[in-house]
Point group: C2
Chain length 143, copies 2
Amino acid sequence: MSDLCDFPQLLAGLGVKPTALRLAVLEVLGASSKALRAQEILEAIRSKRRVNKVTVYRILDGFTRRGILRRLAIEDRVSHYELACEHHPPHPHFQCHNCGQVQCLEPAPLERMWRDLKGPLGNRADRIDIRVEGVCHKCREIS
Amino acid sequence: MSDLCDFPQLLAGLGVKPTALRLAVLEVLGASSKALRAQEILEAIRSKRRVNKVTVYRILDGFTRRGILRRLAIEDRVSHYELACEHHPPHPHFQCHNCGQVQCLEPAPLERMWRDLKGPLGNRADRIDIRVEGVCHKCREIS
DNA sequence: AAATGAAAATCAACTTAGTTGCAAATATCA
DNA sequence: TGATATTTGCAACTAAGTTGATTTTCATTT
Ligand SMILES: [Mn+2]
Ligand SMILES: [Mn+2]
Ligand SMILES: [Zn+2]
Ligand SMILES: [Zn+2]
């Protein structure tokens, strides 16, 4: 999705060393049009080289803490990850409850929701996640 | 939250036997102003009687399938449950990333989101979940 | 009241996704 | 080169939930 980002430079800007594995994680996510599970990222990297899952989990975690990735709590019991670079502003997601895929939707409606939800609370809102669940285009055709 | 519902009657209407445990699960959720984890429901029941966790998980699962409860994928790796009766229409949720509590927000803005998100897809949207993340009122005071 | 049968609850074992602690391998710097 | 710090790997563990088989409960039928 984002071959627009120069990953080595992105990491350099944050003082993070661009190791082969860190770049591999970013490239897998950059090449995907949808948010991926840690498992899927792991397998994608493994199709090219050998990696330990712990390393991948640690990279995903570190990137999420630094704001390089967003971790989505979109599905029970499995996190999904996506790039959080400027080409990927926060946006709603769609998950098909038949095939499980997580699509990215257009960011547009987010701004308005912010205003509606932020107001009425003594809480401080830092982030808003919108998840649409249903049956995707492909799965509808089949059945 | 919903002492408004007559649980035995609710179950009867669906042809589900109102066993002691099923009612206990509904009463715990009915007495709570926030969505609860399976663990919390289990502990609440255990403070009164002895139960096996499998039974509680199966009850939660059955209720969710029948639409008596909603299962919320609001936090990584832990489901939250809430009553889905007419006094609890679907609504956005707020989770504090300090204390982890999941508050229920007002249902109002949901209708509008539907229209915005349903349209642009070949997908069929069945449900929309909105999750606001931040720091809750209580946790803000403390720090 | 005893026998039958179905639904509900329990138990032990298992699974999945992720985490922890520590050791080995690399990279960086003096 | 050696000393230090960072990254990666390995094995063991955890938390949340699931599975399959067994036992209990409870309403019917005899
Ligand atoms: Mn996305
Ligand atoms: Mn709620
Ligand atoms: Zn699908
Ligand atoms: Zn809080």
